[in-house]
């Protein structure tokens, strides 16, 4: 309410009986307080070794759309992708966050952390005298953060950035921090999983996590369990080629050991997902993605045999 309107209200109702003034003023004050004290999550977002796909996935959020997320859910204090500030001004903001928001901010990390050669394979910023590596930044900001959220499979478990031969010694955030990390995996993340996790933190606190540190809300069941093509699988009716309408297990689908709700939730305003376009799920939310998923189009049992490694199924997954 504008100042003038407020004065007018006070004048008009000043002589009214039945406490009309208090009633009117109190509700205005209450609304004002609600807006002013509206809780938003202060967020620091570090981009490390990644493809940038997770910030693009984040831009694809619908209900709430990105503008509303900025307006009502988070104060995105530092983000290489979005912040208007640049250069030294941006770095100063990062310094301020450590002073002002200590213990109160959520650290979002997008990307794996290279640890070989003192982490020099990823430098988030440079000054005239030194380089700030992702390793240093994540370690330094990870400790005073209230929550640490790893967005995408690279940040969660290493992902494609840590795929063999992993020249840079890239690892997930959990491997460089001695604290709990909420892993919101996916390559990229489904925006619902990430924005939903932020919403949970904001409204209800920490969500329930599975053994891999992921919100069970999104990762608690396998793709296979809820797949629209499950009946084909149960009847042994398998696709012969990409584009077929039958079960994609024969073409490399690893939905049976992949925790994610894609069949229900779907992608980009909930319109589709990989199996719906007649291709296999490649298990992009998994701890061993992508090495445990390649060759992508080889059936699961042979995939494991060919690679000669132990693809132990993730905890709680449906057995084939």
């Amino acid at each position: 309410m504008h100042k003038e309107d407020f004065s007018r209200l006070c004048h008009t109702l000043s002589s009214d009986k039945n406490n009309a003034l208090s009633e009117a003023v109190l509700s205005v004050v209450k609304d004002h307080q609600n807006i002013k004290n509206k809780k938003k999550l202060p967020v620091v977002w570090l981009e490390t070794n990644d493809s940038g796909d997770n910030n693009i996935a984040f831009m694809n959020t619908t209900y709430p759309y990105l503008g509303r997320v900025f307006e009502e859910m988070i104060d995105l204090l530092y983000s290489n992708t979005f912040m208007a500030a640049e250069g030294r001004d941006a770095l100063n903001i990062l310094d301020q966050v450590l002073n002002i928001y200590k213990g109160k901010f959520t650290l979002v990390v997008e990307g794996a952390i290279p640890i070989k050669d003192q982490g020099l394979y990823n430098i988030i910023a440079r000054t005239k005298t030194r380089s700030i590596t992702a390793l240093e930044a994540v370690t330094r900001l990870g400790e005073p953060a209230e929550h640490v959220v790893a967005i995408g499979t690279c940040a969660s478990f290493g992902g494609p950035s840590a795929a063999r031969p992993n020249l840079t010694g890239s690892v997930g955030v959990r491997d460089v921090l001695d604290r709990e990390v909420i892993n919101v995996s996916g390559c990229p993340v489904n925006p619902d999983w990430f924005v939903g996790t932020l919403a949970h933190l904001l409204m209800y606190g920490k969500p329930e996590l599975d053994q891999l540190g992921r919100p069970t809300l999104f990762y608690g069941f396998t793709i296979h369990r809820h797949c629209q093509r499950r009946s084909y699988f149960d009847q042994g009716d398998f696709a012969e080629k990409l584009g077929d309408i039958e079960c994609m297990f024969s073409l490399g689908c690893i939905g049976p050991r992949t925790g994610a709700d894609c069949p229900y939730r779907q992608w980009i305003n909930h319109v589709s997902w990989p199996v719906k376009v007649n291709t296999p799920c490649i298990g992009c939310t998994n701890e061993d993605f992508p090495d445990g998923s390649t060759p992508f189009f080889t059936p699961m049992p042979e995939k494991n045999k060919k690679q000669g490694d132990q693809n132990s199924p993730a905890p709680g997954v449906d057995q084939v």
Partner: protein
């Protein structure tokens, strides 16, 4: 005024991590070292994998232009397996590719470039914005700031078209070798047309006039950030049973002459890049290499640097007659966006409802293939050498490698560095503003740019380069 060294880092609002080390003397930029500061070693990651993994694996090089990598890997596999593309597959592929172009260009203009010219609301993530050179009148400024938030939906709807046919985005699933695995049905075509209608409306009523307004108010940027007129495109929107036709032609423009590109003239070097060459000729990363300042290698054509991207495409195809300045790059990207909405409309109407237009052959007829296309940011090249269907070598040259090439052994500058050097800096407050506007006009994607290749010989001669 004395000589001053300034580190512009981080250069925000782009894809990946970039730092630029600048020397300013007497109010003028006299040197610039643009450094891509992330490295993943993607070509090594590709080794020993089944070659058909290339589409899904290489998309993960880049989150913002993922489909471009998927497309060029599909062209590569089409040639390797001798696939034949039915007409529906050709249209559908180009519709999907075009949808990702719209997503890229709309988001680049509004999310990355606009805060360089428009005062944004004073709240995160716009806090700390440098107001040194914001020139729009309050009404225009407010309108354009509001369009930032309208662009959110236009960008999302572009990806919704892609997901409708591709299953998800980024890193779509159905555009593969042999065609597209999804059936173009009447409902999907109608949904895509409806989404495209919204996006076209946004492009016509927002993006185009907003670009024109900024070009008018900041018209001095037609004289800032000028590069040598050496432009290169590898062609865009491939059609034909064997992907043999490019709708938008390829070309190499230098000294006022336009020639078709000859891939064997492409070469790379590592003088200022954090790589070393071992005695056996193999390249290894060395982040402590003295004197080096980037993970991006220097790529040249016939020994010269070339600028790539929408400006190169628009000029080479005769759609744009302007120069090679910062504002020309911004302007031609918007022009291209408009042209693409019109093309998509035509292509969607040419789709015929039917079964999934995919036919993958299973036996390779070659051992070595180079495939090219232009991606959103410019020329993109993949080369694969295989043995028993497994990748022996997989090499990638991305658009940002062309534009962000560091100096070569002789100290010659690549496109971005030459666009920065020579600019006047009227006062200290303007330094990052002027540099930032110019750097972003190239739409850098550093996650794409920093990869490890072997660099000897040439494409045709030895696959590796």
């Amino acid at each position: 005024m004395s000589k001053q060294r300034v580190m512009f880092s981080p250069v925000t609002r782009l894809s990946g991590l970039l730092s630029v080390d600048v020397i300013v003397e007497n109010g003028r930029v006299t040197e610039a070292n643009a450094g891509g500061t992330m490295f993943r070693g993607y070509e090594w990651i590709m080794r020993d994998r089944h070659v058909t993994d290339a589409v899904y694996m290489t998309q993960r090089i880049c989150g913002i232009c993922s489909l471009a990598h998927g497309a060029v890997a599909s062209y590569l596999l089409d040639e390797l397996f001798d696939n034949e593309l039915v007409e529906n597959a050709q249209y559908l592929r180009n519709i999907m590719f075009a949808a990702d172009f719209l997503q890229n260009h709309i988001r680049h203009f509004y999310f990355f470039s606009l805060p360089d010219f428009v005062k944004m609301p004073d709240r995160p993530p716009f806090h700390g914005q440098n107001p040194a050179d914001i020139r729009l009148n309050p009404q225009d400024n407010q309108r354009l700031a509001e369009h930032y938030f309208e662009a959110v939906k236009a960008g999302q709807e572009s990806h919704q078209i892609l997901a409708l046919f591709g299953g998800k985005a980024p890193h779509q699933h159905s555009f593969l070798h042999g065609g597209v695995a999804v059936a173009p049905t009447a409902d999907k075509i109608a949904q895509a047309l409806a989404l495209l209608g919204n996006i076209s409306e946004f492009v016509k009523s927002r993006l185009v006039p907003d670009t024109e307004l900024i070009a008018r108010v900041y018209s001095d940027y037609f004289r800032i950030g000028i590069t040598p007129a050496q432009l290169l495109s590898l062609g865009l929107f491939r059609f034909g049973v064997k992907n043999e036709n490019f709708l938008w032609r390829s070309g190499v423009l230098a000294d006022g002459q336009l020639h078709p590109p000859r891939l064997e003239l492409i070469s790379e070097e590592i003088t200022n890049t954090w790589f070393d060459q071992t005695g056996t000729g193999e390249i290894r990363p060395d982040p402590l290499k003295p004197g080096a300042y980037t993970w991006v290698k220097a790529v040249r054509y016939a020994g010269r640097y070339f600028q790539v991207g929408p400006l190169a495409r628009m000029i080479i195809n005769g759609f744009y007659k302007g120069g090679t300045s910062t504002m020309d790059r911004i302007y031609s990207r918007t022009l291209e966006t408009l042209l693409i909405t019109e093309l998509m409309q035509q292509w969607l109407k040419k789709l015929k409802p039917g079964p999934p237009p995919i036919n993958q052959k299973s036996t390779p007829v070659k051992k070595e293939v180079t495939a090219v296309t232009d991606a959103m940011r410019g020329a993109l090249l993949h080369t694969a050498l295989i043995e028993d269907e497994k990748v022996v070598k997989y090499n990638i040259i991305t658009p940002t490698v062309w534009n962000f090439s560091p100096k070569n052994g002789s100290g010659n500058r690549g496109p971005v560095e030459s666009a920065l050097v020579g600019n006047e800096i009227p006062n200290q407050d303007m330094l990052f503003t002027i540099l930032g506007r110019t750097i972003r006009s190239f739409d850098p994607c550093i996650s794409c740019a920093t990869h490890l290749l072997d660099c000897k010989g040439s494409v045709k001669a030895e696959v590796v380069y």
